[in-house]
């Protein structure tokens, strides 16, 4: 990668964030349809992520939520429609992926895989360090800062497989933040966690969003988790069923249609899922 081209791209991202065009759209999907293995996985999806927004994407299992994130990341090419992330097409985006942090749904690794929390978080810097180079002092500083903000100080040298589920999720969040993150994409990050660990993770995430000025796309099948924290919610089940404020989405009869089951069953009564204080 030549210095000139890198500088040119840097200018492009900087121009996007420095522009005074009013409300900036970090993600702009227009009528996106995706076909995988001959089957339509997403159909005619349109949604936008404004800067600083926390967008919760809900939908039942197999609704295409993960595919949606993969479309945003440029891993999956849509059959039709347009994808624009930070003002760039997917082809241009592959050089700017260090502005996007991604926390996958499940990392299926061997529990004795010989990498520490330090090593895992440093993986997040891979795209910043560049090819044919080794980590420098600034990379180590970014790594230490990321570990600090997610509250894993003191556990840096532990093997990743030795951590609890909640701590592992924090480590993967630190890895997603250990770069020049503007957009954070999270795929079911609270799945497999008990209620206190879920709450702790969500509190951490909303705090980081404010402190670091992040824009968040949070995918989950758990309506209740997102209803408490998201600025806007979108409900998909292959196609877009709903998009709006959490109260509007939860109150809509179309939510039942998307999940193909009773609403009470999903969200539960307040007695079962109490709204958290200050939440």
């Amino acid at each position: 990668m030549s210095r000139g081209r890198a500088a040119g791209r840097q200018c492009r991202v900087a121009r996007f964030f420095d522009s005074d065009a009013g409300e900036r759209l970090l993600i702009d999907l227009e009528n996106v349809s995706v076909e995988l293995g001959g089957q339509t996985v997403l159909e005619d999806i349109t949604f936008r992520l404004r800067e600083g927004m926390f967008l919760g994407v809900i939908g039942p299992n197999g609704a295409g939520k993960t595919t949606l994130l993969r479309v945003i990341l440029g891993i999956v090419k849509p059959r039709s429609g347009t994808v624009c992330v930070m003002g760039m097409q997917p082809g241009e985006l592959r050089h700017e992926l260090h502005h996007i942090g991604y926390v996958p749904q499940n990392v299926l690794f061997d529990p004795v895989f010989p990498v520490s929390v330090y090593d895992v978080v440093m993986m997040g810097r891979t795209c910043c360090i560049g090819r044919f180079r080794f980590a420098r002092r600034e990379d180590r500083e970014a790594e230490i800062e990321s570990i600090r903000v997610v509250g894993l100080e003191g556990l840096e040298k532990r093997l990743i497989g030795e951590l609890s589920g909640g701590q592992q999720k924090r480590a993967f969040l630190a890895r997603a933040l250990c770069r020049e993150t503007r957009i954070l994409l999270l795929d079911e990050p609270t799945s497999g966690l008990d209620i206190p660990a879920q709450n702790a993770f969500m509190d951490l995430l909303t705090g980081l969003k404010e402190d670091l000025g992040l824009s968040v796309v949070f995918v989950s099948h758990d309506v209740n988790v997102l209803a408490q924290h998201a600025d806007e919610m979108a409900c998909i089940n292959r196609s877009m069923h709903l998009h709006g404020k959490p109260g509007d989405v939860i109150g809509s009869a179309r939510l039942q249609e998307a999940y193909r089951c009773e609403f009470d069953f999903l969200v539960g009564s307040p007695a079962h899922h109490p709204k958290r204080e200050g939440g």
Binding site: L73, L97, I100, P104, D119, L159
Partner: protein, 281 residues
């Protein structure tokens, strides 16, 4: 042993190939490519047979054939049409069957073929050592240059892809490196035993260490130690060098399991002895 020219070439060649195989062994174990390594090494028999039947240098034909098989394993498994172990099982048995048919057709069951099956490190020339040095340098160079990408890819392919790591290049690069290293390692221990060289050192390193740096260092150290001790023993007792190297490696593996901090056999044994000592006193 070092007073003989063939002993010196064997030692230098053996150490060179041990370094490359042992370094690679770490990635083979953590990426669970042990069966792929075994499949590629056995497929080399087909390549060697093509060389013997056509009169071309068998190492060249085996190299080309192994790269093709490695590419086939990668392509089929990434396309997701077949499981990795299924396609490995199919390709390596087909390649060996091809080898048997070609060897039978060419009436070439001879000493030369046996040297490819069981290795002949004591017949290694300085030209062979130069080829081994180049191959080891290329293999280790690939793994050093793309180390952080390889580590990221082996740990979490999904996020590595999302981070712009060229996972396809890294995956195929690793498979091709495995194939080429196996081909040159055939000189050392032969087709039948070469998979030991690319599996056991990594397993030893992972038994004894927690971090990947120590695991790789111990893997390379155990590989070199096995070659040096194995050659020395085979020279002293006049037994097959390749098999002796593998047996030394296996002994080191058993020792690593016994000493592994994960299993704590030694600590438990010591505690039991102390308890029995206290009880008896």
């Amino acid at each position: 042993m070092l007073s003989y020219s063939f002993g010196r070439t064997a030692l230098v060649g053996g150490v060179l190939i041990a370094v490359a195989c042992s370094f690679m062994s770490f990635f083979i174990i953590v990426r669970r490519l042990a069966f792929a390594g075994m499949g590629i090494s056995h497929a080399a028999f087909g390549g060697v047979a093509i060389g013997i039947a056509t009169g071309v240098n068998p190492i060249l034909t085996a190299g080309a054939f192994c790269v093709l098989v490695a590419g086939g394993i990668g392509w089929f498994s990434r396309k997701g049409k077949l499981h990795e172990d299924t396609i490995i099982g199919i390709l390596f048995s087909a390649a060996m069957a091809l080898g048997v048919v070609l060897i039978a057709a060419a009436h070439a069951y001879n000493q030369d073929l046996l040297s490819y099956l069981f290795g002949s490190i004591l017949a290694v020339s300085w030209t062979d050592v130069a080829i081994l040095a180049v191959m080891s340098f290329l293999a280790v160079g690939f793994m050093v240059v793309f180390f952080k990408e390889l580590l990221f890819f082996t740990f979490d392919e999904e996020t590595a892809t999302a981070s712009g790591v060229p996972v396809r290049f890294v995956y195929y690069g690793l498979l091709v490196t495995i194939a080429l290293t196996i081909v040159v390692a055939i000189k050392l221990v032969g087709i039948i035993l070469v998979s030991a060289l690319i599996v056991i050192p990594g397993a030893i390193g992972l038994q004894l260490s927690r971090g990947y740096r120590h695991a790789i260092a111990l893997s390379v150290a155990s590989g070199i130690a096995s070659v040096v001790v194995g050659l020395q023993l085979s020279f002293r007792f006049d037994v097959a060098s390749g098999a002796t190297i593998v047996l030394v490696m296996f002994a080191l593996f058993l020792a690593s399991v016994a000493l592994s901090p994960r299993r704590r056999y030694v600590q438990r044994l010591r505690a039991r002895l102390e308890r029995s000592g206290t009880g008896g006193g």
